[in-house]
Amino acid sequence: MLHTDMKTIVKYILLDLFKNKTILVYTFILAVLAVSVLSMSGNSSKGLLSLLNITLLFVPIISILFATIYFFNSMEFIELLLAQSVRRKTMILAEYCGVASALSIAYLLGVGLPSVLLNYSPASITLIFSGIFLTLIFTAIALLIFVVFKDKTKGIGAAIITALFFTLLFDGLLLSFIYSFSEYPIDKPLLGLISFNPVDLGRILVLLQLDVAVMMGYSGALFKEFMGSVIGSVYTLGCMSLWVLIPLAASVRKFKRKDL
């Protein structure tokens, strides 16, 4: 019952989102940037680096903003479906799956397809993998924001702040941390700290696949050694997954008791 309801709702959300202008424009812009960046820069590593920057800049902010707005706009629709004896957990997860898959498909078409066609390499695959994970993560955070905040305006504000925090502020704090403790061996703590920011995690994952990794010096070497190992890969994958699962679980928990 839970399963079929979920499938039905996801199907119709996707039908809606595939006609959504923002999703179409997002896909189109990603595709134009990806194709131009990959075909213009002569060497593949450089093209991928630019694509990485595009991913890190656009994916978190667009995912979280779009998802937050979409969730808030679906409020009445959610109420209507809940009144049709859909369970709350099913409903909220269906909303998440719908939006997350639409955004992921947009990323796959916009960035994934061009980079596989024009520049197939392990690094490209890692980039796509990171981009998808960032989409899933920031959509999950958007869901949590939707569940926590009653007011749409406040929700959007929170979404912007969250995106800024992870793309910019966190790194600023990290830099001041590195600055203050530069006398100490901080490379291992750094490895731990990075896990608290999915954007950094995704960035380093891709950088390690590219030859610019050697520029990251000792920390980079340490990261490479760790993330290259089986335990490291499992750890990284685990971190990324937790970044999806924790906000999702929290959302479901909170949504079950939420007054609509």
Partner: protein
């Protein structure tokens, strides 16, 4: 003056060979101690032709002026235990041999061909395979090592030896050799007035070229690529490096070219491509860096604050992650009239010179020079923004480190 003396010496040697053209030719076929016996039998000026085959002989000492020639690359095998040729006489010529499996010893440097206290020795067109040291020159002068192929499969920096090793020598000519898989491709220590021309040194465990305390030497048209740490030039003066290529020396601590305590030298028309650090300068004085190409390096040039009086003029900087990095706030070197692809100034009077200065050091590179761990933020949005802000409000970067006449177009090199 010294150079002309060298040429005369060569001529003199050549005349001697010509004069004794009638000297006899001794053919050697594989047999126990065949080469030893032949050399013992030979008279000064004779030619020993070593026929095709494998010779397990070692410690072959040459104390007469002989020509040793291989016929279809006979193999002289050291069985991973012994050293092979020891040349202790002037004007010996060795060519056409395949010298392999020289052994290792902790007390002596074992080499395929070791030249000790000799002048005018010529080592050419030989193959050196899996030797600790290939050619070893000690107190040698006016020697020529050319067109040899030197290769080793040892991947071990500590136990390996150098391809061409020269110590306390002068007026050497090292040309056209292809060296790979050694510890250092070419190693010079206390070697002066010498030339290194058109060699290719690649895939060596440490340096493609490594020289110290070697003054007034010239290096041209060599290619150094994919070496563990690139090329290191240290504690020398009067070094001329022209038309060399430093390519893809890529690793945690790899340099295209590392200069340390170098004075009054010239780095001209070289190509530094895809190295972690293209050109690293430390404690250099009056080094002229002119008309070089720096392309796709991590750091094109890293100029430590201990450098002074050096000029960077008319170089092309293209596609480097960082153009220039420095560790201090002082800059006593001069950057002028270079082409920087990151320059986004304008040229109103169309004289091909940008109207506003270019600052080749980015804030982020200043930060990472101080705290290398900060490289972990490489390619993050934060660092991009830091650099953009710094462009508008310069505060951290050394003010003197700027190019007042950045060129608008690439220099044709």
């Amino acid at each position: 003056m010294k150079r002309t003396f060298g040429q005369i010496a060569f001529l003199f040697a050549a005349l001697l060979i010509a004069a004794e053209c009638g000297a006899s030719i001794i053919k050697v076929k594989p047999a126990p101690n065949a080469i030893h016996n032949a050399i013992a039998k030979a008279r000064t000026g004779d030619t020993v032709v070593i026929m095709k085959g494998t010779y397990k002989e070692h410690e072959i000492t040459v104390r007469k002026r002989l020509v040793l020639t291989g016929n279809s690359f006979p193999v002289i095998d050291g069985e991973n235990k012994y050293q092979l040729f020891l040349i202790q006489c002037d004007s010996v010529i060795i060519r056409g041999l395949q010298i392999q499996n020289v052994g290792k010893a902790s007390m002596t440097d074992m080499a395929g061909i070791k030249v000790i206290n000799a002048k005018g020795v010529i080592v050419d067109n030989n193959k050196f395979i899996n030797n600790t040291f290939g050619v070893y020159l000690q107190n040698a002068a006016f020697c020529s090592v050319s067109n040899n192929i030197i290769h080793s499969d040892f991947k071990d920096e500590i136990n390996g030896g150098n391809g061409i090793h020269a110590w306390r020598s002068d007026h050497l000519s090292i040309s056209g050799n292809i060296i790979s898989g050694q510890r250092d491709g070419i190693y010079f220590e206390f070697v002066t007035e010498s030339k290194i021309i058109s060699n290719r040194s690649f895939g060596n465990a440490r340096y493609g070229l490594h020289f110290m305390f070697s003054h007034n030497d010239t290096y041209t048209k060599n290619t150094f690529n994919d070496n563990g740490a690139g090329v290191a030039v240290m504690y020398s003066h009067g070094v001329n490096m022209y038309d060399n290529e430093f390519i893809h020396n890529w690793g945690d601590a790899s340099y295209g070219l590392l200069l340390k305590e170098i004075t009054d030298s010239r780095i001209t028309r070289n190509r530094f491509i895809k190295n972690t650090i293209g050109l690293h300068m430390e404690g250099t004085t009056r080094v002229d860096v002119r008309q070089n190409l720096f392309q796709d390096n991590g750091w094109a040039a890293r100029v430590q604050a201990s450098c002074s009086g050096s000029n960077f003029i008319q170089n092309n900087f293209i596609g480097n992650s960082f153009d220039v990095a420095t560790n201090g706030t002082m800059m006593l070197n001069n950057f002028d009239s270079n082409y920087w692809d990151k320059y986004d100034g304008y040229d109103l009077n169309k004289n091909n010179v940008g109207d506003v200065p270019y600052y080749p050091v980015s804030v982020y590179s200043v930060v990472t020079e101080k705290i290398p761990s900060a490289m972990i933020l490489y390619h993050s949005l934060l660092t991009d923004i830091m650099d953009q802000v710094e462009k508008v409000l310069p505060t951290i970067i050394p003010d003197k480190l700027r190019d007042d006449h950045p060129l608008m177009k690439k220099i044709k090199l």
